[in-house]
């Protein structure tokens, strides 16, 4: 055994040279090279002898030769595969259904025949994070068992199986990964949002039971044929994380157990993982379901570049992402494990065109997604519940919390909520009129009147939440009444507004009401002219 590095280096250098010296001249060479150092010389001579001998047990591929190699191959043939019929705990393996870097998942059924129950048995690879799992499992099991939400595949059992490998038994879900489901079923944006809400509700419920998922990603969410989304592996990431303590602390090294691209900025930085990480990952999921791509380019694959992108790069607005010719261009990224897709293809999978999809995402959905994806956990939605609330508000056509509270926004929203009755022309009238008059009126008086008019319209469309169920007709009737009463001393403004409202009645197909308002406006103007 050569302990001194100095001796090693000297001997290695002499060995190198000696190998080039013809055998007959080696003795003389070694005399010269080693000087009087007998220890060095003896070592080099042994090395030279060893180098010249072709040891049959030590040749290329030698590690796998002989009976050892045969047995090794036999074991490999059997491998860590579990053939159908093998029992793991109380379950009998039916077939393999999935395989990851750390585990193999089998479809299995109850072996004791008490009742028929199909389960998914996740058998961990040997040699990976095994020692502590059984102990931790007992502790976590109770917590996980509390998360009895229909949107969560329940953890049923666990233990140590064949070859000392730990296994987890989970509810078996017969479904497709959420993203594939959405694309194959050509789900529209609202339908995708509703499916997303199912997932978010499940996560929210778990949060109330103090369980953080930590690894929300499309491959962990299956959708059954009847359209129910189920989250897999709830709390498993923590269970498998050798560095996790009983709290939620997660160190930098633990990121290896995560899917790197889906890590949150705080996970990347090695900061504590909280429910805010799940908000972020739900944001990523939402982004992916809406746009078919990833919010930022993760770089050329260098882990450092990827982590930097996650920690710092600002997401591309969803509405901009879908207008890039091909995903991965224009700043956004290709979702992990996917091919770049053309904008047409992405829109088609959502039953629409790229232009329409962009308009649909622009505004509220941009705001909701980007709020969930903020780098700073404090600036995201404070909880999954708040994220859910905004998506639900969007679907109901109500104002969302993620956007600045401007009157143009709220007015536009109000008009859109009644989109079925309100025509596009009506929306244009309400908004275009108000804005147009504010900005184009050149005369002082006109501008003042326009301001009043805009202000009045704003108030008219601003209704208390409890009366949100007003129909457009009721809204307009109310407006007319208010114009008559409140603007009694300002006939010019009154006339302008009644004309505007008359136009809106016309747009609703209420011709009689429209005509009577036109007449009333005409009469007011006549009075003004002194007729």
């Amino acid at each position: 055994m050569i302990s001194s590095n100095d001796l090693w280096q000297r001997a290695d250098r002499i060995l190198d040279e000696a190998l080039d010296v013809p055998a007959g001249q080696r003795a003389a060479f070694l005399d010269r090279a080693c000087g009087g150092d007998t220890q060095l010389r003896a070592l080099v001579e042994r090395l030279l002898n060893a180098a010249e001998i072709e040891d049959p047990g030590f040749k290329s591929g030698g590690a796998l030769q002989g009976s050892f190699g045969e047995n090794f191959r036999d074991e490999l043939t059997k491998g860590d595969e579990v053939p159908p019929g093998t029992t793991i705990g109380r379950y009998r393996v039916v077939r393999e259904i999935g395989r990851g870097g750390m585990s193999v998942v089998y479809l299995a059924e109850r072996a004791d025949g008490q009742f028929r129950q199909e389960v998914a048995v996740k058998l961990l690879q040997s040699g990976i994070a095994t020692g502590h799992i059984a102990r931790r499992f007992d502790r976590e099991r109770q917590i996980l068992a509390q998360a009895r939400h229909p949107g969560v595949a329940r953890l049923l059992d666990g233990g140590t199986g064949p070859g000392g490998r730990p296994y987890l038994v989970m509810e078996y879900v017969d479904g497709r990964p959420i993203e594939r489901y959405c694309d194959e079923e050509r789900l529209s944006v609202p339908d995708r949002l509703r499916l997303f809400l199912q997932v978010a509700h499940a996560v929210e419920d778990a949060h109330r039971n103090l369980v953080v998922h930590r690894d929300i990603k499309p491959s962990n969410i299956l959708v059954t044929a009847d359209g129910h989304a189920k989250l897999l592996d709830f709390g498993i990431a923590k269970l498998l994380d050798p560095t996790a303590t009983s709290g939620d602390a997660l160190t930098g090294s633990a990121i290896r157990l995560m899917t790197p691209a889906w890590a949150s900025p705080e996970q990347v930085r090695g900061n504590p993982v909280t429910t805010a990480s799940d908000v972020y990952q739900l944001g990523l999921l939402l982004y992916l379901l809406l746009t078919g791509c990833f919010p930022y380019d993760l770089g050329d694959g260098n882990p450092a570049a990827r982590m930097l992108a996650i920690a710092q790069r600002e997401p591309v607005r969803p509405s901009s992402a879908v207008t890039s010719e091909v995903t991965g261009q224009g700043g956004c990224g290709v979702a992990p494990g996917q091919e770049p897709k053309a904008a047409e293809e992405i829109a088609r999978a959502r039953g629409t065109t790229p232009g329409r999809l962009r308009r649909m995402l622009c505004g509220d959905l941009d705001a909701i997604t980007l709020t969930a994806l903020r780098k700073d956990p404090e600036k995201r939605y404070g909880s999954v519940a708040q994220l859910i609330d905004d998506v639900e508000r969007y679907l109901a056509g109500r104002t969302i919390s993620a956007r600045p509270d401007t009157w143009t926004y709220r007015t536009g929203k109000l008009v859109r909520r009644h989109a079925a009755a309100f025509t596009a022309a009506l929306a244009a009238a309400a908004l275009g009129l108000a804005l147009g008059l504010v900005y184009t009126a050149d005369l002082m008086e006109q501008r003042d009147r326009a301001r009043q008019q805009a202000e009045f319209l704003r108030e008219l469309f601003e209704v208390p939440a409890q009366s949100a169920a007003l129909t457009p007709r009721q809204l307009l009737d109310r407006g007319v009444a208010r114009v008559e009463i409140e603007l009694a001393g300002q006939p010019e403004l009154q006339a302008d507004l009644l004309e505007d409202l008359g136009q809106m009645y016309l747009d609703l197909g209420l011709h009689d009401e429209a005509r009577s308002l036109q007449q009333r406006a005409g009469a007011l103007r006549g009075d003004l002219r002194g007729e």
Binding site: M1, I2, N5, W8, Q9, D12, L15, D16, L19, L43, R46, L47, L48, A50, A51, D55, G57, F58, K59, S60, G61, G62, A63, L64, G66, S67, F68, G69, E70, N71, F72, R73, D74, E75, L76, T77, G79, D80, E81, G98, R99, G100, G101, Q125, G127, I128, S219, R256, T259, P260, A261, D300, G301, N302, P303, A304, R306, P336, G337
Partner: protein
């Protein structure tokens, strides 16, 4: 949840750019895949003699795990290097399990079935070789890599040279030296 090929490719590129962490992340992925591919090779109908061709093995794994469009020719060499290390682990893990079986309940079997003695001897030999390799690595990481490529992964001289990024002649010379040094280390 299949292993994401994009990630292996990305890590390989990063490793090629000198990212050591990428090596640590790649190793377990390739370790698992080699076992899988080996199993498939051995179970193949056309392979009744259970020949394990490590060269084919490593290449199959490479083709499967790495997106060929995203890497240059050097990535293959880098992959071979990591795969050779992974093969060393696969083999040594098996030797360890054999050793554990011998010390445990397998003891009676060992004395009865003659074949097992040879196997366990070789398992012991491999374990001490692995330790010697660890010591050699402290003096010369390059020589240790050569042993992984040649002895454990069974790569050819040419492939070893490519994986190491050295000339064929250097690969041959290093292999010769590495064997000499290992025998010296094992002598004690």
């Amino acid at each position: 949840m299949p292993e994401n090929p994009a990630d292996v490719t990305s890590l390989l590129v990063a490793y090629g750019n000198g990212d050591r962490e990428a090596f640590d992340l790649l190793l377990p992925m390739i370790y698992d895949d080699l076992r899988r591919v080996a199993r498939r090779q051995l179970n193949r109908v056309g392979n009744p003699d259970k020949v394990l061709d490590t060269t084919v093995l490593v290449h199959e794994s490479y083709l499967k795990m790495v997106d060929q469009n995203r890497v240059d020719w050097q990535s293959r060499a880098h992959f071979l290097g990591v795969a050779a290390r992974a093969m060393r682990q696969v083999v040594i893990d098996y030797a360890r399990r054999r050793g554990a079986a011998k010390r445990g309940g397998g003891a009676i079997q060992t004395t009865i079935e003659e074949g097992h003695i040879a196997i366990n001897d070789q398992a012991d030999f491999l374990l001490s070789l692995d330790q010697a390799l660890g010591r050699l690595e402290a003096h010369s990481p390059r020589l240790a890599r050569i042993v992984e490529c040649r002895f454990f992964a069974g790569l050819s001289e040419e492939e070893t040279a490519a994986a190491m990024g050295v000339s064929l002649r250097t690969a041959q010379r290093d292999w010769m030296k590495a064997r000499a040094w290992l025998q010296e280390e094992l002598r004690a």
